[in-house]
Symmetry: D2
Subunit: 363 residues, 4 copies
């Protein structure tokens, strides 16, 4: 496995390099009969587009997608959906200086050792632009899940040391850092600008909530919901940690503090709390899925750093090119997309969990 | 995919229930020519065996394994290795009271909803005994990796609020909580006993370090080393968080604080720090792999809890049976095993990364 | 991939060697709620048991299976079903003479070259006993498919030069060669006995028919019904050819002779002929699935043959041990099992083919 | 699994419809360091291009490919290779008449039943144009295999009743039906023209030979070389049968006639005959791989045929559009491509078959 595909029944294969001709995704296993147009996908893409504010890279890409297959007369046909985004504003010469030297915190060195060759222009395949394909697939997954009533929301929980202290969903799309707290957002913006001026970069935490999933999604043992979500989210470049529900905090608590009691809400089973984050034993428990991803500061900084070249020379380098001082806001939609893809795939896996479900469709 | 298999080239399939006849694993893709006996596997199993101290369940299982296939005259043959452990000390009647009520924090409710039927005895498939198969496969992976010079060490980093403050590898196997710090271990033991007396349970954090991996292991995009490690580790019941290198802490730092500089150590490229935890862009960078798993407190506690039954009645229950007040120490070898399985699988995936490697073996 | 697993959503992993302790299968992805006992599986196993007549090996194995996991109170639980058969009548010393020499037509040489080591006793993993696991999984698949009205029948179409010329389903289980034609069966028996006396062996063709599958099963492109059936059937040792519908004969015909016209049977679409064998474009067309497998003569013969040893010496050898002069009759249930496994897996894959099916189960 | 991907370590995902904007393939798992240009791929594409002679469809497609990712400075980089072919000469209106009626022998009916919607233009996804992606991947596989000395040759063995009776490799590329026998080729051409005049179509048999593979390729049990070749080849539309070595003929023979004796050729083990077709027990035996595919006559014929519409009306139809009276010659390169893809994938799977191979690369 070369690793560019994800999913069993609903699968995504991404391809493309930062400064190649184009990037794209092939989405296979999408059910037939779903209304799908480029607009649906563009909404997701626009949330990760560069240049939404002065807080992100000034690379000028409109990131317009084109659907090349898999739909007919506005509906999905059940065949693979190929979506493409052409690169427009490559300034590859910005990267000539890094053709030899390995940028600290980047994959330059490891790609070179693994493959003996690397497309150094803008990080090649290890660039954040690879996530374009994920986001396009996330948009398709979103259409599928919404047809059974699933909704998702994703936002920045912290940027550097600035953490949100309120939760106002309406605020999320009203500030450039996608925080559900306008005041924290303001502080976060200031913090990012300050770091940028100091030629520094910043990390943060992204939180995602998904509502409306049926109870019972997730396969026991190795394909637990939280396990596949963890793979999905940790596979995004720059993500260094994943936790679900109370996560690391749970490790400090006692059983009585961490268990969620059950009670009856009419004929529905409910939990009085949601320390679990919506999963028990790897299977959705009907509650909101809540998880977090820790994102490291952008490794590209304008301060001088010590490094080595592929010839074994020690050098000092300053990373040029057009970088984001923080990728957290643009990563929000990527994290959400990976979650939607994962849950769609697990939903389909669940369809054959009981013989009565099989009979319902075929007898 | 029903989820009981893990890995692409080196695969593990586990099976078995807590109170069934037996549990086991089928390990496929193990290279031929490796000396392997039941003793090799038993060493790993003994580290997760119940009853090693008064801190774990008093269920009396010797957990003796038997190899049923895949070896001949003491060597692996390249064919699937089937290993089995028979259950001996099932006291299934302990569980009759939970045949109707859903234990909080357990998978009782979600299994029931997913499958419409559940083997309630000891948690059935969702029991911690399922990890027997993982540990047996981990022992095999350990033999493979050690043949190319890879070593691993795994231990408890914290138990409830008690965190280690020293790192003495020799200490790890000298205390029942597997801490690399005798003093912290003592406090942890006391804390666990105190909780046990109060009918409570405790969580903690497990840390794992792996040395000697070649640079270049891990497949880009969806099969990054940290992504598959995260799936592997988060698929262990009770794990609620995963982080690699500086993990969540990295999200608070600046780029210059988080990047690891490169320098030359003779002809070898080295990093001056290891904030990355041994991976860059999903590919091993030659440094030690360091990751942590957050483990929730055992959901089985002897305090009364509110819950509901499968008939929709609200009840108060006290979970009987023989439980661990803390599973962290016994989880240590499970976490290590999952890491070894994952890295073995990724090692094999890397073999075809360059045409020169292919030629080296076949021309 | 080490190749011992088959299927995406309904998966089978087999393990075990001819003269090892046991052989078995792990069947994962079986829906919950299906009544399943050892008896159900034994019916299938008994059809491939040695010693049913004097036409098969006199190795005395009762091949009694034991279910070790995956069922509870007589029903499947959705968790992996582990089934085991212990070897009883190994006479491994029969095989000492072949520990060095490679038997012509067998996998001795290729296993030795691939792995550098081989379990020579009875062919080890490449023995026909490996198919025990397939047959046990086939029995489970049969239970699943029968719950939606699918039935299957499989038989010998020819043995050496003796071909059936009638089709009487009732006859199939009334003769030891499983032919739907008592007269042909008699001739086939005579032919086999004659060959046996001449220390020779015989091949043949197995035909399989499956009725009642819904229209629409099979995934386009690489997972066409006929493609996966071909893999499944060609993966049985000794199978050298596969064809569906008119198969090789179709290559000689004209379009108008090979196309099946459609007509309406009330409100149902029907085909006036079934040259297609029940598939169009890889997807079931509602007609009977009809395919054939060509089986080579048993490579073990008692005539002297020229071969070489692992040391590079040329020798003449006579293969001892207890062999079937023909494996066709015992292969019948193996071919049927592989077909049932494949179609079950494809049935589950189809469940998410339309968004309306997804909505039917979850909205 | 939606079925548009093939392979474990060397994977191909194809996408695109006959009358969509474009068709393409994503080839993942290609080792780094291989010289690859569009020219290399075009050589393969040109062999399946329409309009090479008056024997194939007059649809005017140049089928020029463009590599969008995965190479840098003329070499593969180890990242996914995305290759695209834009459709140029779609005459979709030719197909308006079949938007309601199901063409006999085509997938119109089964797609409609499976998905509830179908792109009827030119067969949509079930069109032979889907094989463009396979051929492009085959060209890449060819580059990989040739670097370890593997060569392949593929040709028409028969067209309708006309079978080759000589084997002259030089002849293959000198006649439009790709036969290794100029005389037979002439007869085949005449036969095709005659059928075309009679509004009929023709089938045939393709044979493929692959030399130079190492002994030991192929994974036991379900991933035997012949099993995966069978899946690969049977997944090509219109293929109804597959056989390896003596194939169906073997079923009529006796053991002594079918077994291949071993002898020593210097220090090399050789077989005196090749009834096996180059595989023993699913693993390559060092001999030439020889297999055949039976191809049905093109279902599109200009004679009137009885069929039904999606509304349930019985109609007589004449299939318009531009069709091949025979697809055998154009299928030759598709069959060869699928074989090369399969064997490349199996080659990589073999790399971890022995611990000594692992050590050779990493110690």
């Amino acid at each position: 496995m070369a690793g560019s595909s994800f999913g069993n029944n609903f699968t995504v294969t991404t391809w493309g390099e930062s400064h190649g001709k184009a990037l794209g995704a092939v989405i296979d296993g999408c059910p037939a009969g779903i209304p799908l147009s480029e607009k649906d996908i563009q909404v997701f893409l626009d949330r990760r587009k560069p240049g939404q504010s002065d807080l992100s890279t000034q690379r000028n890409e409109t990131d317009q997608c084109e659907i090349l297959s898999g739909t007919f007369e506005g509906l999905t046909t059940g065949t693979p959906i190929s979506v493409i985004v052409y690169n427009k504003d490559q300034r590859s010469k910005d990267y000539t200086d890094i053709s030899q030297a390995f940028r600290p915190g980047h994959a330059d060195y490891t790609y070179f050792e693994k493959y003996g060759i690397r497309d150094y222009r803008g990080g090649g395949r290890s660039s954040g632009r690879e996530t374009l394909g994920r986001v396009m697939a996330g948009a398709v997954a979103s259409k599928i899940l919404s047809s059974i009533g699933v909704t998702s929301i994703c936002y920045s929980k912290s940027v550097g040391p600035v953490e949100v202290s309120a939760y106002d969903e309406d605020a999320i799309f009203k500030n450039p850092v996608y925080m559900p707290d306008m005041e924290a957002a303001k502080k976060a913006e200031e913090y990012i600008r300050e770091c940028k001026e100091n030629k520094e970069s910043v990390g943060g935490v992204v939180e995602c909530r998904i509502k409306g999933l049926p109870v019972g999604i997730g396969e026991p043992v190795f394909e637990k919901t939280e396990a596949l979500l963890a793979q999905a989210v940790m596979s995004i470049g720059a993500v260094k940690g994943f936790e679900i529900g109370d996560g690391f905090l749970a490790s400090e608590k006692k059983g009585s503090e961490n268990n969620d009691s059950f009670y009856m809400d009419g004929r529905k089973v409910r939990k009085s709390t949601n320390h679990s984050g919506g999963v028990l034993g790897g299977i959705t428990d009907g509650d909101e899925i809540v998880f977090r991803a820790a994102i490291k500061p952008t490794p590209s900084i304008s301060l001088p750093q010590n490094t080595v070249t592929s010839d074994g020379a020690e050098v000092e380098m300053v990373v040029c090119g057009r970088h984001d001082p923080v990728i957290v806001p643009r990563a929000v939609v990527v994290v959400e997309s990976m979650a939607l893809i994962t849950l769609t795939d697990l939903l389909f896996s669940d369809m054959s969990s009981r013989i009565s479900k099989v009979e319902k469709l075929y007898v």
